[in-house]
Symmetry: C2
DNA sequence: AAGTCTAGTATTGGATCCAATATCCGTGAT
DNA sequence: ATCACGGATATTGGATCCAATACTAGACTT
């Protein structure tokens, strides 16, 4: 007996996910004020969990907040996305370098398993599962750096742009490319070649940006 | 007619500041659960603004959260602080480099004024004012990079460790040193020498870490 | 005696209601 | 006509109350 849309355990989680989707999909227009009454009713919750979700989004930079004025949808232009990816590059390079220096055999085995998961999802053509598995793979890799706060930051940046990524995996070509790049990164890591691992993952990331630039609606 | 402690415009802001202090000062011990009832009563507010403040702190990594289990004070060991400073280094280097490439005459004039403010506070021996002015100076510098999201991230990292910094300015030597370093950074920026500006500010930051290592209570 | 189920309690999650603040618009003075 | 002032309204901020969940302890079974 399968549950269709397993709703998260709390309303704030549910609203958080929905809001992210609404913002990154453009349904809530950039710059527009978020009327708590309206949105709360739309999602069928009260304003309390909504406000907690908004606080989280504020931390991620998807909304801005002014006391007694409310929350506003933050602009997420192509330039902003590029900026996010630039920041990710800075942080993830550090993570990969440290990971390369510290990675253990057990870590590598776990990464192999994570990559298997990605490929299984790709084979099945399950876009959602692949996005999730891909994320798990990358985070597992970054975790090897032994810098929990760095990983937390990276994870937040991924959260802020998650909705865009799922578009990316819709295309067959990308799915194959991703797998190749993952394998190359793993090989480099296994060989202890930090520079090569960084290089591969930079390309990996850069390609995602290019794809986004192609897919994003150019600002009017 | 001076207001003693101008309480922030909202209870959540007030609680946020107080909580940060309580956590970074160690009054709320690492790993300890945060009982909302207790803390709310202690600060004289209801649980609603407290929970919003906690969400913000979650974003900053000062507390962790598990649904239906509550918030817990996050460990902030010396290692964690080092990690935060390492991340700051990565992000701020990028900001300074971009700033050096884009800084205008007007920007430089504004930075001069910001630095004047710092020196005025230092002269007056007003530690709190100096911390604030110093922060304003650095942020003004980073703003020149034209990367709002990057600046936002840096600001968040500063927020998470603000309480520690005020200790730093308590010492006379540090106040003088800071001013010298600021001036050197400004000179480098004016000369368009990005590498030098980065170098100076790296030293600047590294010294703050060293001071912290001296002052921090070593974990038992 | 060990483990499991169950009732009770503590704590968080969420809804509703009221208060405080900001915005908007009309009125009046200059 | 323009600006300042003031009240009405919309919206956010916060307090209280109730519901849902997780923890605890004790009784019962084996």
């Amino acid at each position: 007996m399968t549950v269709q849309h397993r709703r998260p355990p709390t309303a704030q989680q549910f609203v958080l996910d929905e809001l992210r989707r609404a913002i990154t999909s453009g349904r809530l227009r950039p710059g527009a004020p978020i009327r708590q009454d309206v949105v709360a009713e739309e999602f069928g919750v009260s304003r309390v969990p909504l406000r907690e979700a908004l606080k989280t989004l504020q931390g991620e930079g998807l909304v801005t907040y002014r006391a007694h004025r409310g929350y506003y949808v933050e602009e997420l232009s192509l330039d902003d996305l590029r900026e996010v990816y630039r920041i990710r590059t800075l942080l993830e390079e550090e993570a990969v370098r440290r990971a390369a220096a510290r990675v253990t055999a057990a870590d590598l085995a776990a990464l192999d398993r994570a990559e298997d998961e990605v490929e299984r999802a790709a084979q099945a053509g399950d876009v959602l599962a692949m996005a999730a598995a891909n994320r798990a793979f990358h985070m597992a890799l970054y975790e090897c750096a032994g810098m929990p706060r760095l990983v937390r930051l990276i994870r937040t940046l991924w959260d802020a742009t998650d909705a865009y990524r799922s578009i990316y995996y819709g295309e067959n070509v990308n799915r194959e490319r991703v797998i190749g790049e993952h394998r190359a990164a793993l090989a480099a890591l296994r060989a202890g070649d930090a520079d090569e691992a960084v290089r591969v993952l930079d390309v990996h990331r850069a390609h995602a940006v290019t794809a986004l630039e192609r897919l994003m609606p150019e600002p009017a």
